[in-house]
Structures are given as C-alpha cells and as structure tokens.
C-alpha cells in the first residue's frame, strides 16, 4: 500500500487514516531467510540439487559469465536474438565454434518451423478453402505440403490434377516428393534436387537465402491475374544446410545438436535416441529456454520418445519435468494449466533467489535469465499437453508462453512454431505478424509468406463486415 510518505502529505491526510507505507513488494515467494547456496524452499518447484546446475544460477558466477558477457556474439544473440550479427561475431577473428553451432542449430529449427507455416497455410487456403479461381498448380503445392506435414491427402488423384499444370518444373517437383512419401529415407535428396532455391554446400558462418522468389507465377482461372506461388519445400534445403553446418563446425556436439533439434523436427524425420547421459555444452544452454542438460533429453523423450510418460521418467533429473509433474495427469490425459503457470512462477522465483545468493545481491540480468526458465517450463508443459492430445490446455499454455516471449525471451524458432500452429488454425493475422517479424532477419523465410498472404486475403474477404475504428 503506497501512501505519500512526505511529512506534510502525511500531516494533511492524517484523518484519512494513512499509516506509514509498508514494504510493497513481497519477499520472493518460497525464499527462506537462512542463507545456504541451494537450500530447499518449502514449496520448491525445482529440486534443490538441480537449481544449482541450472545455467542461470551457474552464470551468476562472475568468473564463468565473464567471457560470455564480453563477447559481442552472445550480446547480439541474447539481447536482440539477432542471428546474422551473432553468427558474424562468432565467426570473427577467434571463431567460437560452439557458438556458431548453436546459431546454426537454432536456424535449422527456425527454417523447419517456417516450412510448417508455409505448408499449413497452403493446406488451409488451397485445401480447406479451394475456390474456382485457384490454378491447377496449387494441387502440386498441396501434395508437397501434405507430404511434408506427414498428413494423408484427402484426394487420391492429387498428382494427376497437379500434372495438368504446365508450369515448368512444378510437375517433376511434386512427383519427386510424392515418390519420397513413406520411403523413410532422410534426407530426401532426390526430392530436394528438383526443389528450387537449394543453397550450396554447408559452410559455417554462412546464411544463404532461398533464391529468387516466387518459385512460380501462375494465372488465376477467373480474372487471369498473376498468382505467385512458392513451395514450402524450398525451406527444407536451408534447414538441412544449417543443420549440417552445425554438425560440421562442432563435431563433438553431435548428440547435443540432435537433442536440441528434436522438438522441432518435421514429421518425416527420424528421431534421435533419448540418451540418459547427454553431454550439452554451456554455450548451448546459455540464453536458451532449457535449464539443465536433462531438460533437453526430457523434451526429446516427450516429443519423439515416450510422450507424456517421459514426465515420470525424468521427474528427478529434469528441472522442467519436476516442476510440471504435479500438474500432469498422465492417466487422465490432461494438464492443469493454472497449476503449470503457478509452478513456473515458483521456479522463476527459485532461480532468482538462488542467483541472488550466488552473486551476492540483485543484478540486472537475474530477471531476464529467470524469465527464460519460466517460459521454458510453460513450453515443456505445452509439449506434454500436445503429446497427450489435450488441445485446450496446449492452446492456453501456448498463449501464456507467447505473452512471455518478449524482449530477451523472444526465441525466433519458438515464435515461428506458434505461427505454424496459427496458420493451421486459420489465424492468419497473428501468423503473418510473427512471420513478418523474422523477415529481414532470417533470410529466406519469405517463402512461407506467399501461401500465408493468400490465406489472409481469402479469410478477410469472407468474414463479417468490419469498419475502421478509432
């Protein structure tokens, strides 16, 4: 309760019952007064042993944080999520291989999500909302999109319909992807060979774009106006380029790179094995939404392994698993959203308290670092809800995570994954905002813009009349 504490104000308002101001900001929840680096608070979300090993707490040690803080690459990555600047800085005079690998891996994940945005938008606009004006060429893109999304195509003769389009290179492109469907071969080199905009051989520090766009220019069947088309598959080449560049520049991090990529893989991709003793360098964790190496393994297990059952498996080793465990009813197949948000808040407080104790006082970076822990926890619960098929909880958790993903927590690949989910839900406004935010920073994501723009125009022209408001 803030009350004016100036003497004359107090005097003036004595009769209104203004007592001297009490401390307004309550002590961080769960913190006990007695020191002890990792003392277990009463309502701990993260087990005491794990808190100390979380990267935000480890990074409260000035000696450990020093080299990161002084390197412009980490500042560009963490403060601005600016990949080109960070990649340039890591490739500078004393190249930091692990840093480069980290950026390339995140780019590999981001391009995959951009691909899903394009594929979902193509399915929604030309699949769910087909209009007479749409040229035959869209059937080819629909085919490729269904293949990339691992979704069965409702129409059996999609390929024949596609062949009717005489656009140069489009038929073979669709046929190649149709051939690859179900073959299980990865990477789909033959299909990629007939996909436009393929980058050259992977080289560390390079950020190629998606080549000339649009891939094809068709004509609409009613007014005869130009329709610009682009195949989402164009982004797979870029994703693989960065994945291979990461593996090439940091060969020892093979397992870590695979684990980091696992939650973002496309349906057709083989999943990496879930390893108990995963070696993850601090450079991969620093500034990410994963607190401890076991969190990576937990996320791999949830998204590509045993699904919701992973919560019990990793409850004692992964910070996320232990935090969300009380809120997940594996048998009932439901996630308690308020409980997750409450526990994520407790984990946030726990991390800040531990960081404060470790660095001997409140520091500016404590809040943003702990915020990443909170966002990561909610995103983990979201993945568990998705694995269990609890759509409502997954949606609510995504909205909460989206609200927190601002400033230093705005990880591009996560934001693009939300855009992909929105595109699939025909929420073209939010999807185009999220995609637009990355255009100009991640070269080539404009490929996904062609189908998304078409979806947005179609939806906005066919909704209830609206007037500009002020």
């Amino acid at each position: 309760m803030i009350c004016p504490n100036r003497w004359w104000a107090g005097l003036l308002l004595l009769a209104i019952g203004c007592s001297p101001p009490t401390v307004t900001s309550p002590d961080p929840a769960g913190s006990s007064a007695d020191p002890g680096p990792d003392s277990v608070a009463a309502d701990a979300a993260i087990p005491g042993g794990l808190v100390g090993s979380a990267w935000p707490v480890r990074m409260s040690d000035d000696a450990l944080r020093g080299p990161f803080e002084s390197h412009s690459g980490w500042a560009a990555l963490l403060m601005q999520r600016d990949y080109p600047a960070a990649l340039g800085a890591f490739g500078g005079d004393a190249p930091l291989a692990v840093g480069q690998a980290r950026i390339h891996t995140e780019l590999a994940a981001a391009y995959r999500q951009a691909l899903r945005v394009g594929a979902n938008a193509t399915v929604q606009v030309y699949g769910e909302n087909r209009r007479d004006e749409d040229p035959a060429a869209v059937d080819c893109l629909l085919l490729v999109s269904y293949v990339l999304l691992g979704v069965d195509d409702p129409s059996a003769d999609r390929l024949q319909a596609c062949q009717r389009s005489e656009l140069e290179g489009l038929g073979p492109h669709a046929a190649a992807w149709d051939a690859w469907r179900g073959s299980g071969a990865w990477p789909p080199s033959d299909a990629l060979a007939v996909t436009a905009g393929q980058p050259g051989p992977p080289t560390a520090g390079a950020m190629p774009d998606a080549g000339p766009l649009p891939h094809w220019r068709a004509v609409d069947l009613v007014e005869g106006l130009e329709v610009q088309l682009a195949s989402p598959a164009g982004l797979l080449g870029l994703a693989l380029f960065h994945e291979q560049a990461a593996r090439a520049v940091y060969p020892q991090g093979e397992a870590a790179i695979s684990a980091m990529l696992a939650p973002w893989l496309l349906p057709g991709e083989p999943a990496p094995a879930v390893s108990d003793e995963l070696e993850v360098p601090l450079e991969f964790l620093f500034g990410s939404a994963m607190l401890v190496p076991a969190d990576l393994s937990f996320m791999v297990d949830v998204t590509r392994g045993s699904g919701a059952a992973a919560v019990d498996t990793w409850k004692d080793r992964s910070a996320f698993a232990s935090t969300i465990a009380p809120c997940v009813d594996v048998a009932g197949g439901a996630v308690d959203v308020p409980c997750v948000i409450e526990n994520a808040g407790r984990a946030f407080d726990q991390l800040r308290t531990a960081m404060e104790i470790r660095s001997g006082g409140e520091q500016g970076y404590h809040r943003p670092f702990a915020e990443l822990g909170r966002v990561g926890t909610i995103r983990a619960a979201e993945a568990v809800a998705e694995a269990m098929g609890d759509e409502q909880a997954m949606g609510l958790l995504r909205l909460n995570a989206l609200d927190l993903s601002i400033g230093t927590s705005a990880e591009p690949h996560y934001l693009l994954s939300i855009a992909a989910w929105d595109a699939g839900n025909r929420n073209s406004s939010r999807a185009s905002d999220a995609l637009h935010a990355q255009v100009g920073h991640i070269p080539g994501v404009e490929v996904a813009r062609f189908p998304l723009d078409a979806l947005h125009v179609r939806l906005s022209r066919e909704s209830a009349p609206g007037v500009p408001m002020h």
Binding site: I2, P4, N5, R6, W8, A9, L12
Partner: protein, 273 residues
Amino acid sequence: MPRQVAILFTVISLGVLLVFAFHAPDRWTVMAEAEPYASPLVLPPFGADGRGRPLTDYAMQGAHIVSLPAVVAGLLVTFLGVVGGLVRCMGSARVESVVAGLREVVGALPRMVVILVVAILMPLEWRSLMALAIVWALLAAPGAMDEAASVAGRLGGARFVEALRAHGFSRVRIYLYHVVALNLRPVVVRQGAETLMQVVFLEVALSFLALAAGEPSFTHNEATTKSWADLLYQGYQSIAMDVPSAHALVLGLLLVAVTAVAAVSISSAARAR
C-alpha cells in the same frame, strides 16, 4: 500596510508577471534540458518537469495566458464601478433601479455556471481566456457598481456635486477629481484588483479541470502553451503519488501568491489616505 510599501509590492509583483508574460516562448519547447524532475539546484531557477523541460517555460507561458485578459477584466470592472458611482451622483433614480435590477439578475446565477455555458458555446478555435474573462467581469460589474454607488451615496450624491459647484469647480473636475479620484478610487481599484485575481484563478481552475478530465483546455491551446495549472497538476502528483515534482507545486503556489500579492498591494496602494 503603508502606501509606499504597497506601491513597491505592486511594482514588484506586476513587474514579475509582466516580465514573465513578455518573455514567454510562443512555441512549446520540447527539448529536454536536464534530467526528469531535476531540482531547481540542478537546473536553476525552477528545475525541470517529468521530461526534463525547464519549469520557467511553464511560468512564463502561464503568465502570458493570464496577463492581458486579467488586466482587461480588471479595468472593465473598475470602469463600470466608476460609472456606477457617477450615476449615483447624477441622482437619476430610474438608472439606479436598472442597475439594481441588473445586479439581481446577473447576481442570481453562480458565475462558474454562466462561464461553463458560455464555454460550451464557443467553437473550438475561439477558445481563449479573453472571452471568459470579459464575461466574468460583466458578472462582477453590478457588485462593483453597487458598492461604488453606496460610496457616492455616503458622500451625499447629487447634493455633494451641487455643493462643490457652488464653490466654482467645473463639473468635469468635480466628477473626475473629487468624486472619482478622491472618493471612488479605493473601492473601484480594489474591485478591479480582485477581478484581476479572480480571472487568474478562473484560468487555473478551468485548465486544472481539463487536465484532470483528460480534455483540452477552454482557456488556451495546450498543444503549444502550458499553464500554471500544469505546475499545480504535477505538484499534486508529488503529494499523492511520490513523484519527485514538489518543486513544481511550490512554483505553482508561488505564482498564485504573487498574483494575490499584486491584487492586495494594488488595493492598498490605492487606499484612501
């Protein structure tokens, strides 16, 4: 208060207001010159506002808004007071009853109500303090005329004039010197000074209300001009919400005090010997 002191105070206070009014920048300087809420020590003479802009501009522009309308309203009331007094000296009963009737009608309604109704009818671009100041003066005039008339009455009204005529003074000299200069002066000057102060308070009140209601002001164009009400408004925030703008409140109250001192000292300077 002795006359010389009163005259000195008058000169100082009016001088301060007119100097401020004269130097007021006609465009609102949005250039920050110091830290937000810098104290007068950091940015003399009056410190800065929430965006680092000097409070002197507030004081000067506020003075600029009020100076002319307040003086015009004061002179108008003084003039009408003199007319009221002279009318009593002419001894014409009909005119007196008209003034009395006018006083009843005009005095019937609270002034702020009349001001607000006039304000509502002014189109957006005519909004200025001058129109409202003149209306306020016309509302105050009957009171001044009545008081001047009672003074003239105590003198003896028309009989006083006849008596002096018998001494061979010209009619003009009697009215101007004897009636007005010597006898009516204290009353009408005090009424005029009070109206001058009230018009300043009216401007501060209306601007403050507009600020509290989040509406543009009736008295000035606050896109380019700040008023003393802005000072008081920032000052209130220092009391109610721990904003470090107490120096704005002090300056605001100081300026209000200077206006009051001006009014009081004018009245006592013009007091009968």
